[in-house]
Structures are given as structure tokens and as C-alpha cells.
Symmetry: C2
Subunit: 219 residues, 2 copies
């Protein structure tokens, strides 16, 4: 990351750094790929490629800053959600929809997370853990505790819950290519997202068993 103090505009935003992030984001959406070059980003933003180095250190630094920017928006939504005067169940459903919509709105987010966690420096992976994994896990911990204390949720381990919920949401976007090839399953459209949100809400809240079966299993 840049060690120099960025040149800030009155609005508090650094306009060149912002432009570079916007350009990178738009390029990744246009190409459905995170394979973009520094010179592509520079050309699209109208800035000099050397400014990427000045503001972000290198391309991975820029990608990390972009992910941090998108994640920050999502994480502040979580705090807002937790404070709402609604049931824990309603919060959980809104959260499930929120994760799936965020992945859909930033189609590169999921790829960036995997790339920064597994294929770059340990430092990048630590950063992703810090601004993405840790706050999300902390939110799950608090939401589950609240739901259990209100008698809405069964006692559930937050780490295991995080793993299953994030894994399931992530896989709609990460695993879809493989399914298209195997089975003629189409791409992730708005309609597929809506269906998956409904599927996940139903599955996470009530499971797959019919009520009669569940009562029999419990009885």
C-alpha cells in the first residue's frame, strides 16, 4: 500500500485513486474476469499507469483496495441490520438476501476474494481476513446469540454456521461455470438470484424435511 499521504480533494475523496478503482471495477464487470492489466486500468481511467504504483503499490494493492471499498459498504449494512426492531429470523433472511445480492452486484467480488486469499502474498490474505471474514463471523456470532436468547434459533456454532452459509452463497457464483458445462444450467440472472435467495431462506430456516417428518424425528 502507498505510504505517502494521498492528495485529497475537499470532498474527502482522492479523485485519482477513486477513478482508478472505478475503472478497475468497470473493466472486471465488462470482461466478467479479474484478469485486467495495469495499462488497461490506466487507459480506462485516463490516468497514468505510474499512479497505480503511487496510490496502491501494485495491481494487487489496487484490487485489495477495491474489495475493501465494496466490503466496507456491506459491513456497515450488517450493523444497521442488527439494530433493527425486527425478529432475529427476519434479520437472518435479510442477511441471506443481502449476501447473494452483493455477490450478484459485484460479480468480481467472489473471484477477488479467492484470488487474494489463495494466490497472492500472506499480507493480502491477512487483509481480506481482517475486513471481510472477521466482521462477517462476528455478525453471525451476535445474530445467532440473539436468536437463541429469544427462543427463535436452535443453539448453533457460529463458525460452522458461517462456513455453511457463506460456502453455499459463494458457490452459486463460484461453481456455476462447472454446472453450465455439465448440465446446461444457465448463467446467474436476476431471476436465478431471487430463486436462490428463496431456496436459502427456506433451507436455512426450516430445512428440507416436511413438518410431519421433523416432528416424527424429534418425537
Amino acid at each position: 500500500m502507498a505510504t505517502s499521504v494521498p492528495n485529497r480533494l475537499p470532498g474527502g475523496k482522492n479523485s485519482t485513486a477513486e477513478k482508478l478503482l472505478v475503472a478497475a471495477s468497470e473493466l472486471m464487470i465488462e470482461r466478467s474476469s479479474i484478469e485486467i492489466s495495469l495499462s488497461d486500468i490506466a487507459q480506462k481511467s485516463g490516468a497514468n499507469a505510474a499512479l497505480v504504483k503511487y496510490h496502491f503499490g501494485n495491481k494487487d494493492g489496487l484490487l485489495l483496495a477495491l474489495l475493501a471499498r465494496d466490503a466496507a459498504t456491506e459491513m456497515s449494512n450488517l450493523e444497521y441490520l442488527l439494530a433493527q426492531p425486527i425478529t432475529s429470523t427476519a434479520k437472518l433472511k435479510l442477511h441471506i438476501a443481502g449476501i447473494i445480492r452483493a455477490y450478484h452486484r459485484f460479480p468480481y467480488m467472489n473471484r477477488l476474494i479467492h484470488y487474494l486469499l489463495h494466490e497472492t502474498s500472506a499480507n493480502s490474505a491477512d487483509e481480506v481476513s481482517k475486513f471481510f471474514v472477521a466482521p462477517l463471523l462476528d455478525f453471525h456470532r451476535r445474530l445467532l446469540a440473539e436468536g437463541v436468547s429469544r427462543g427463535e434459533f436452535r443453539p448453533t456454532d457460529p463458525v460452522l454456521f458461517y462456513t455453511s452459509l457463506i460456502g453455499a452463497c459463494d458457490h452459486l457464483f463460484f461453481g456455476r461455470h462447472a454446472m453450465s458445462r455439465a448440465t446446461g444450467v444457465g448463467p446467474v440472472t436476476d431471476e436465478v438470484c431471487r430463486q436462490y435467495i428463496k431456496h436459502m431462506e427456506t433451507l436455512i430456516c426450516g430445512g428440507i424435511l416436511t413438518q410431519a417428518e421433523e416432528a416424527a424425528a424429534a418425537g
Copy 2:
């Protein structure tokens, strides 16, 4: 893949090809990584590196053959499971445990699937879809239909179900590094696997809501 007819032993197994697969598998387990070189594989197996080319075309061909070998065992278990005289719910629970144990037994399997699907030729991705994704999805389709017809399961879309179940199981192994960094969560031990199997069985079958909440939501 090799176009020449492999030199087979009386038992029907090609001993050099087998040795190379075993060596690659052992190396990946020892190193907890799929980053192994052709010369490492050759050295460990005692075979000449040129034989990898002869039998598998190249290293990706060898990795694909290894994944196919491991997947074939798992897929034949699915057919056996479906034919058992037990409830659909019992089959589903055994299947969940089976997926998690297979990923745990072959710790490189999950990484190999991601690597072959996303970072190699379209041909490798097609192969992985054909011998891994398609048969697993087909199994889910049949198990769900059976469970619904017996009144055990709610009607559930098999593609969405596949996505959520495989994504959740996969993430225990794919996402764990990030969680360790963020939160001090430990590695995936036998005990963690057992806990996750129990968590997933409970979540997929009955969801997170208490019975009272679920009855209220349905009523």
C-alpha cells in the same frame, strides 16, 4: 491424454500409471498443496518423467486422471446408497457425511477441482463436469424426487440444492485458511469434520428455527 494403448498388467491395472498417480497423491497430501512438479512425481514413483507424458499427456492430464480415479469411487458409492432399503432422510444424512469425509480423506480433491475447473483448458473443465458435477447432480435429482414422493422432503429444486450443499461442504476445506487467519479457528481435524457433519445434517434436515418458531411461521 495419451492416445497410445497403455501397457497393461494381467490384473488390468497399468502399473507405471498407477505408481505415478499414487506418488502424486502422496506428494500432495505430504505438502498440503497441489503445487508439485513432474520431476518430484517421477522421483517419488521411481519412474522416468517422460512416462508422465506417455501415459497422461502432461501434468494436468495426470491430475485429471487422479481426480477421476478418486471421484469414480465416490460416485459408485452413491448408486449403492440410493439402492438401500432405508428412508430418504437416512440416505441424505449418509450422503452429507460421505461428501465431508471424502474431502477430508483426499485433502487435495477440493483444490484440484477448483484448479481444473478454473485455471486449465476448457477440456479439463469439461472432463471434471462430466465425471464429478453431472453424476452428483443426477444423484441429488433422484434422491430429492424419492424423498418428496415418500412425503419426507419438501419439494426442492435439485440444481439449487446441489449448489447449497456442495458449496457448504466445500467451504469447510476451501475457506478454512481465511478463517484461521481472521479468528484463530484451527485446522480441519477429524473432530471438526465430525462436528461439521452433525451441523450440516441438522441444518439441511431441520433448519435453524426451533420447532415452535417453525410451526408459528407455517401457521
